[in-house]
Symmetry: C2
Subunit: 320 residues, 2 copies
């Protein structure tokens, strides 16, 4: 049996996860970060992301600086999704013999720029050899029990909000894959995304469940629903789309909402709030949490979701 037959990445994670023995572990495998108690007022967050050349980025589309920015922003996004700030980063990198120092300098310039933006130190890592480049970033973050956001905190009646426009990363990837010239701004959504960390202080006081949009809005809403034991109703026309992606969709005969729902890698935050906080919402309301377990888009029950590296049917909003 291989992983696809098992049911994909999610089924695999379920299979390998074990209940932690330590009472200090608030959340283990299954959220954007692991959460452990340091003292009464302090929680630490740990997140790791591995990016593999060819799978997550192509040197044909990405400058080395872009790779650095994207790797780091996507990890910072995971810390933001828990209501945290980044304390420290560790960078592990494997690369082939023939890589140039200029390439590595540019890669690290991208990573350090993001570290400087969010004011954290790079304090360790590992350097080794591989035929294809692999970058694995570990971040240590910090939050407090009152600021912590878990996927499991949504309740029926909550509104579902997103912190910014979606779909840009998938639209940009489509343009790059089709080899279409121009559309620089749209391509940049894919190559150098920016996470929502800077909006966090306005979102944390009102958010209940939260997650970052790394695998498409539909997938993230499903994760929140599964963890919270609830359903959701999404309204397509309320999903905010990144500027310029409708032109891309017309050109490539795609549905731009598919980019947002199933594309992923936008690294905005999706979060739930009670309706009385409506006026304080940062971003846009795209739906609401319901009783039950169905995830409904307009009037149709959703049966496909975001990207799974090993899913039985890899569906990615038209984005292979």
């Amino acid at each position: 049996m291989n992983l696809t037959e098992l049911g994909g990445e999610f089924a695999f994670i379920q299979r390998i996860a074990r209940k932690p023995k330590s009472a200090e572990v608030i959340a283990g495998i299954g959220d954007d970060c692991a959460v452990v108690r340091i003292d009464e007022h302090t929680l630490h967050l740990y997140t790791v992301d591995m990016l593999v050349e060819g799978d997550h980025f192509s040197r044909a589309y990405f400058t080395p600086y872009d790779v650095g920015v994207k790797c780091m922003e996507s990890n910072v996004s995971d810390i933001a999704a828990m209501g945290g700030q980044v304390l420290y980063g560790l960078i592990s990198i494997a690369f082939p013999d023939d890589i140039s120092i200029d390439f590595l300098d540019e890669l690290y310039r991208g990573m350090y720029e993001v570290a400087d933006r969010y004011e954290f130190d790079i304090i360790g890592g590992d350097t080794t050899h591989a035929e294809r480049m692999v970058v694995c970033i570990t971040l240590v973050g910090k939050t407090s029990p009152s600021r912590l956001k878990l996927r499991s905190m949504a309740e029926p009646g909550d509104l579902i909000a997103v912190s910014g426009p979606l779909g840009g990363a998938a639209a940009g990837l489509r343009l790059l894959q089709e080899g279409i010239a121009g559309y620089t701004e749209v391509k940049r959504y894919h190559t150098t995304p920016r996470c929502s960390m800077n909006q966090l202080d306005r979102i944390v006081p009102i958010a209940k469940a939260m997650e970052d949009v790394s695998d498409g809005l539909a997938s993230e809403v499903r994760n929140i629903c599964m963890a919270s034991g609830v359903g959701a109703r999404l309204t397509r026309e309320n999903i905010p789309l990144c500027e310029g992606i409708c032109e891309t969709a017309v050109l490539l005969r795609d549905d731009p909402y598919d980019y947002a729902l199933f594309g992923g890698e936008d690294f905005k935050l999706v979060y739930t709030v009670t309706p009385d906080h409506y006026n304080r919402i940062v971003g846009s309301v795209v739906g609401e949490i319901t009783a039950g377990t169905d995830i409904v888009l307009d009037k149709e029950k959703l049966t496909r979701f975001g990207y799974d590296h090993f899913a039985p049917n890899r569906i990615n909003g038209g984005v292979p």
Copy 2:
């Protein structure tokens, strides 16, 4: 310019490391672990190791269980080298489509066995796709300011001790690479090493500088010397060799002490102690710390050291 022309992995690490801004960072890039202050009595340790199929392990030599054990023991060894205990682990893994669930189950059985041995939880990670398997383990450890061991703590007159016999991993690799049947016990030094964590409570009270033997004794002693601004004198015949490796050396016409000095991956601890602690030493005394900067083996100044993935001359004690 590529990395070999730059001067190898060490030169690269020097190039990318920056001085941390946070006052809580006790040690950043350049020791076995990064060290940060949590409170007056508590330090946290972070270490990451990336193992790449083909570079660090071969599925021809290793069962998936072996890969799991080796990945995890080698990381635990880094925490031990700082005088710490492991608190938590995060496992990131990338693998090809066609990998079997049986393979992954065995891999995780190996990793969890080590986690159980040293009593820590696996609390997160990442799962993704790659053509060749990559395993990246992050460990979070804990120590106290009085137990912390840095490479920089050696002084002239200290004795240099190793916690157990060396050379087994390199001898085992040689046998595997040469395709020689039998010698199961020697091969096992390479495939399923065991670190020295269980001796730590007897070593920490006497050790000053400490490091684990991942790249060969000569390389580790050099690291301690460079960080402490001292030299060292090693005595070849005092280096304890793993049982059975002299037969391997005779068979393959190698020098068994080269396995210990330049081979690496034995994951024992090398540490310095003042001579008044001689009777409490765990393991064997192999030399002493001297003034100056030379590292002398018997009467000869050492000019080659352990394994560097990108060194201008890759020398690995006869082990390619």
